[in-house]
């Protein structure tokens, strides 16, 4: 399904940029930008899960939020289900909200502590669907059931739940309007291992049942490996590598991906002893002042001269595998060829 180029992607993001202005100077003029997301493109097909990984602060959440236009983006195009999101006005956006939803990173913070679970889940229904009170309550209970929350809990407050249960509340809220596309922003990062599994299973189960499409943001590579069909690896506001799951974990191309994968600890002392680690050194650059050339050049174990001056192209180096690295840079015309192939794929 992942590589089925025939279907029109549900989500298409092209050259997305999200810069947060930095103000300064005498008149508080803009003096610079935090380039939280700096020109990234990807497609997500219906029913697919795209995993988005990368270290803390590289811009994953920003991508997720920008895709849903929770931020006013700096540049780029976003189409979801054929509609242009990037330029839609507030009314249009509001009407499109039911289509696309978000599950937030921190289940505690994303639930209003003063609303009951039932109110929280009912909120999108109130906003978008005309239904009677009874109907709404029924729907809320149904949703709670769907995500495996005991109906008894309807009148409880978020703080009375465990992290996993809270995340379920968030999921129920996201599901309330029968969306097609859900951005899951590190839905498991704040949870305990045994609960992580519950949530991931739930998400998968819902995907099977309802045919949902996910953008699954996480820095937990093992979970992404479990859930995603394709994986994008971000570094400092850009995508370093995008590939189908199996290939990526099997043979990562980008040095950053390699380092990332090697750093994941193995829950088995026997394997753990054999793991070869790539320990990164050097400073993590700031997104407001990214280095010249390749973003990763300051920490890259395989850094070359060219990396410090020329920005590598993000291009398809093998079918379905995109990477932005000089180690894998292919000739200029070949690249454009590859690029064309995507475009054709999209037209046909």
């Amino acid at each position: 399904m992942a590589l089925d180029m025939k279907t029109e992607p549900l989500v298409r993001v092209q050259n997305l940029k999200m810069h947060f202005p930095i103000y300064g100077g005498l008149l508080q003029r803009k003096v610079g930008d935090v380039k939280a997301v700096d020109g990234i493109s990807f497609d997500i097909y219906e029913g697919e899960t795209l995993g988005l990984v990368g270290e803390s602060g590289c811009g994953k959440s920003t991508v997720g939020r920008a895709v849903l236009r929770l931020y006013d983006i700096t540049d780029g195009a976003i189409r979801i289900d054929g509609d242009d999101i990037a330029t839609a006005d507030a009314g249009k956006l509001r009407s499109m909200r039911p289509l696309m939803q978000m599950i937030f990173q921190d289940p505690q913070a994303s639930l209003n502590p003063r609303m009951t679970v039932a109110d929280i889940i009912a909120e999108p229904l109130r906003e978008h669907v005309k239904m009677s009170k009874i109907e709404r309550e029924d729907r809320v209970l149904e949703l709670m059931d769907q995500v495996g929350l005991n109906k008894e809990f309807a009148n409880r407050y978020p703080h009375e739940f465990s992290g996993g249960q809270r995340q379920r509340i968030g999921i129920a809220r996201a599901l309330a309007l029968n969306p097609k596309f859900i951005v899951c922003d590190e839905p498991i990062a704040a949870l305990d291992v045994s609960i992580q599994a519950q949530v991931v299973n739930l998400l998968e189960e819902l995907q099977d049942r309802l045919g949902l499409t996910y953008l699954f943001i996480s820095h937990d590579l093992s979970m992404v490996r479990h859930i995603a069909d394709r994986v994008a690896v971000m570094y400092l506001g850009q995508i370093a590598e995008l590939a189908p799951r199996a290939e990526l974990y099997e043979a990562p191309l980008h040095p950053y991906t390699q380092a990332l994968l090697s750093a994941v600890p193995e829950p088995d002392p026997n394997i753990e002893e054999q793991v070869e680690r790539i320990i990164l050194t050097g400073d993590v650059p700031s997104p407001s002042n990214p280095p010249q050339g390749c973003n990763f050049c300051t920490r890259c174990p395989q850094v070359m001269e060219i990396c410090k001056t020329v920005e590598p192209q993000f291009q398809e180096v093998q079918p379905g595998r995109f990477v932005a690295c000089h180690l894998h840079q292919i000739a200029e015309n070949a690249a454009s060829e590859a690029h064309k192939s995507i475009q054709q794929g999209e037209i046909t």
């Binding site: 939020r65 849903l68 929770l70 956006l93 509001r94 009407s95 909200r97 039911p98 939803q101 978000m102 937030f104 990173q105 921190d106 913070a109 994303s110 639930l111 209003n112 502590p113 003063r114 609303m115 009951t116 039932a118 909120e123 999108p124 906003e127 978008h128 009874i134 309550e137 209970l141 059931d145 769907q146 495996g148 929350l149 005991n150 109906k151 008894e152 309807a154 009148n155 407050y157 703080h159 009375e160 968030g170 809220r173 309007l177």
Partner: protein
């Protein structure tokens, strides 16, 4: 967990939606200070509402033969320099003071919250509204009141009768000159709150700004508002007396606590109890409102309520 619930259980579950308020009440009740505060407050309220109807003496009737008397059976709080019954005046005065204090406080809270929320929530309005707050802080209260009274008293009196008119005038005068503190505090909290993830979550659902404010922002700035309320009621009662004293308030024979307190100061040595009554009444009211506020804040916070 996912097994179909039986219909009876379902019906049972629907009912308790209303019972949140019982939770709040339960929590409130368990706060000793709040309970005591409410009891006092209710007693004061009942006394000033029904007291004047039940007590046989009128607050403005002069009985010149019994002037400057100490407490006795006929006059439990004594009498003033014109022989008016202090108890009756306290009851009648409480009506006005409480009404003015509460209404002005509510008005100030309303204004302060509104402006604080708008300034905090809409970045574009922030500078403007905060400078306006500075302006109001800087305005000289007395001339401002004189102007307000000059401009509006007669019109309001014509509309609502002399007492009603003055009431509205006083309340609005106090209200519009004491919201600034609240606005500042609320703005600060809203600024922080706005960045919280649940607000973003609500936006992702498509909640419009209006409901975003009422549903997500306001309930979470309740606690500073409560504190402002406590301090606000005291300020309003005292300000009212200052205004009355300057002749900007109620007619001179109209007792209020602040005025009684002020008038009795001259008699501090002759009959100290006369100062005590209004002083005590104001302090008790403020204290009970403070404790009620504490209790309410705790009770309305589900995180505390669980404990």
């Amino acid at each position: 967990m996912t097994d179909a619930a039986n219909p009876i259980a379902e019906i049972e579950k629907r009912k308790p939606a209303r019972s949140q308020w019982w939770d709040v009440w339960d929590q409130f009740r368990s706060h000793k200070g709040a309970l005591l505060g409410s009891i006092f407050f209710v007693i004061i309220l009942l006394a000033v509402i029904f007291g004047p109807m039940l007590w046989h003496l009128d607050a403005t009737t002069i009985d010149i033969r019994s002037r400057n008397q100490g407490p006795s059976l006929a006059h439990p709080f004594g009498t003033d320099q014109l022989g008016r019954d202090t108890f009756a005046r306290m009851l009648a005065g409480g009506r006005v003071s409480l009404a003015v204090g509460m209404t002005a406080m509510i008005l100030a809270l309303f204004l302060g919250t509104l402006i604080g929320v708008l300034a905090g929530y809409f970045k574009r309005l922030d500078g403007l509204l905060m400078r306006a707050t500075d302006l109001f802080l800087a305005l000289p209260l007395l001339p401002l009141l004189l102007v307000i009274i000059m401009l509006f008293r007669d019109r309001l009196s014509a509309q609502f009768g002399p007492e009603g008119g003055i009431f509205i005038l006083m309340v609005s005068a106090i209200g519009i000159t004491s919201w600034m503190q609240t606005a500042r505090i609320v703005r600060g909290d809203v600024l922080a709150l706005k960045e919280r993830e649940f607000v973003l979550a609500a936006r992702s659902i498509g909640t419009p700004n209006r409901r975003m404010i009422t549903r997500h922002i306001l309930p979470n700035v309740l606690s500073p508002i409560m504190v402002s309320a406590t301090l606000g009621i005291a300020t309003a009662i005292i300000t009212e007396s200052a205004l009355s004293f300057l002749g900007l308030g109620f007619p001179p024979d109209f007792p209020t606590w602040g005025r009684l307190l002020f008038d009795s100061i001259d008699y501090l040595q002759q009959s100290p109890e006369r100062v005590m009554w209004p002083g005590l009444a104001i302090s008790l009211t403020v204290l009970s409102v403070n404790y009620i506020g504490d209790g309410l804040r705790d009770a309305l916070d589900p995180r505390i309520r669980g404990r």
